[in-house]
Symmetry: C2
Subunit: 346 residues, 2 copies
């Protein structure tokens, strides 16, 4: 044994492992990459020595030559929004299992896109990018990420051709909101709701636009008058204030459809604690997302759900498929929504 270089100063390298195992450095590389030809017992020996030396291939070096960083960029306006944090959580778990790591970036909270951020992110060379900032055009994202193919979470507008339209240039996850919203409106209609209000999310958000328009169309199809709209921005506080204004300044409502669950919580608290109204007896409330908090007893919210696990699985499928077929045309996945009935309606 060459005990002279026993001092494992800093990080162990493939060279050191190779020296100790009496093999070439290339063999070490092969030992860590499956689907390469290497005698099994040799691979075993190398891996054993690697573990002793606390060696792991350097991903920066690996990325440099292979063009794969194994990083997935995630752009969020607000990590602690409940829905976002739950998606990040599930996504990180799923990606980790596939050998990827989640790289987090924060952008402006008004859901506008930030070109400087894209350039910044590009420096880290993510293999793929998932943007929660839905209003950004996919080709803008693509222009800034030369290597990575962005994944576009798409909320098709109802009544347009968007639902069917193919997009050969980008990978897309379509979220169809019509079914869940229709079930929600049907329920409200069954309870005889007359004045239905929509508490919006951030105006620039594509998810909000799509939900509002879909609600309008569903209500029209069912012969209901258009909803009263109160402006929020997905936050508890904005929903709280908007609800108060709706009843103090405006004419109130007997049912409120919130753009997301957190907003619905603000609506419920404003109704109960500020306006002294009962939910669901005086006003019925429905949310959107079905986050973990929605079953908490203080709210016990009826809400339109789209399954998180299903969504994450779809995203991971898109990522992996794209990495295995870099030049294939755009892949698509589609997700549906459904109503979860709890205590805030009837």
């Amino acid at each position: 044994m060459t005990d002279t270089e026993q001092a494992p100063r800093g990080r162990a390298t493939a060279e050191m492992v190779a020296a100790r195992a009496q093999v070439s450095r290339v063999a070490v590389s092969r030992a860590f990459n499956p689907h390469t030809s290497l005698k099994p017992e040799k691979r075993e020996l190398i891996l054993k020595i690697a573990q002793e030396l606390n060696y792991t291939p350097d991903r920066a070096a690996r990325a440099l030559v292979s063009g794969r960083s194994h990083l997935v960029g995630v752009i969020v306006p607000d990590v602690c929004s409940h829905w976002e944090s739950q998606e990040i959580d599930a996504l990180t778990t799923a990606l980790q299992a596939e050998g990827f790591a989640t790289l987090l970036f924060k952008t402006r909270t008004d859901y506008s896109m930030d070109e400087q951020l894209l350039a910044y992110m590009r420096g880290f060379n993510p293999d793929s990018v998932i943007a929660f900032v839905e209003n950004v055009k996919p080709h803008t994202l693509a222009r800034f990420l030369d290597r990575a193919v962005p994944i576009y979470v798409h909320y098709p507008l109802p009544g347009t051709s968007e639902e069917a339209e193919d997009d050969p240039l980008h990978d897309r996850l379509n979220v169809l909101q019509r079914d869940g919203i229709d079930q929600a409106v049907a329920l409200l209609q069954g309870f005889g709701a007359r004045r239905i209000a929509y508490l919006s999310g951030a105006e620039k958000s594509r998810a909000n636009t799509s939900r509002e328009r879909t609600l309008r169309q569903v209500m029209a199809d069912r012969g209901l008058a258009p909803p009263v709209v109160a402006r929020g921005d997905f936050s508890y506080d904005s929903a709280y204030q908007a609800t108060i204004d709706l009843f103090r300044v405006g004419d109130g409502a007997d049912a409120i459809f919130a753009a997301n669950d957190v907003g619905a919580f603000g609506v419920i608290d404003a109704l109960r604690h500020e306006l002294k109204l009962r939910v669901p007896e005086d006003v019925k409330v429905i949310g959107f997302d079905d986050i973990a908090q929605s079953h908490w007893k203080s709210y016990n919210l009826t809400t339109v759900k789209f399954d998180l696990d299903e969504r994450v699985r779809a995203l991971v499928r898109l990522i992996l498929r794209r990495l295995n077929n870099p030049d294939a045309p755009g892949f698509q996945e589609t997700l549906n929504t459904r109503l979860v009935v709890r205590g805030t309606v009837g």
Copy 2:
């Protein structure tokens, strides 16, 4: 102009920028690194051309030679826990401003450490690592991260020498919980609380151990009987069930101190909706963290706060100081806590 190589296939490289600007590749590198000597007008020209070509230095290549990945690893058991998600959010914002990116890793939810995860993470070469898994010994973390110096969030146990003790080998953020807990107990004592219960967090969590022991000692110092302990794991559901057991199986309490705010929400909902008790009239509740939801009207929770911004600033200071002084002895920062009084006490 050498129009032959006009096709900007794939990603732009420093070489291309250099060719167009009629300078050497080294000059391009210097243009992107401040504190290097380069004629201002030349730097300006290079940056302009770089922008035209959509060029950003490749961080993988940069990391390889400079030894700085500009990645900060964050290990969390659960991203969507409210407190964690808020810290991740604030941390990401702060790090982004300093040119770093947050690399997210999930570990087991029982707060035990996962050596396999550490080895996995090491491959990404983070410059620094912040572990929310407080029970891991800092030298274990250090052994797995040869280059990065881990930052240890330390909850000193009261009555031991830990508060004063220096640790020259690791960077440390001390969180002193005694002041806030003392204020909380004083408040409860003032309202004549007799039976005080502690709803614990995950047993292996250092934060929980420290909070429980500090509470014990504060109560003893004030001549109060030791707290009844109900076992939870920081989650809403566990707190909800433990509270029910406390009153149905055990002898109840007239004040409950929860290990975190989310647990306190579970306590409140169990008291109100399951046990039909009033908060604060029948039972007083105090939480720990002061997360954003704590001021929501349905809970309006009195809680022990330690300031998130202050904490994040301290962490970033530790990270930067360490990177600028790789061989310096361990740095320390200290944070205090205080009570925020809202509606769940008196």
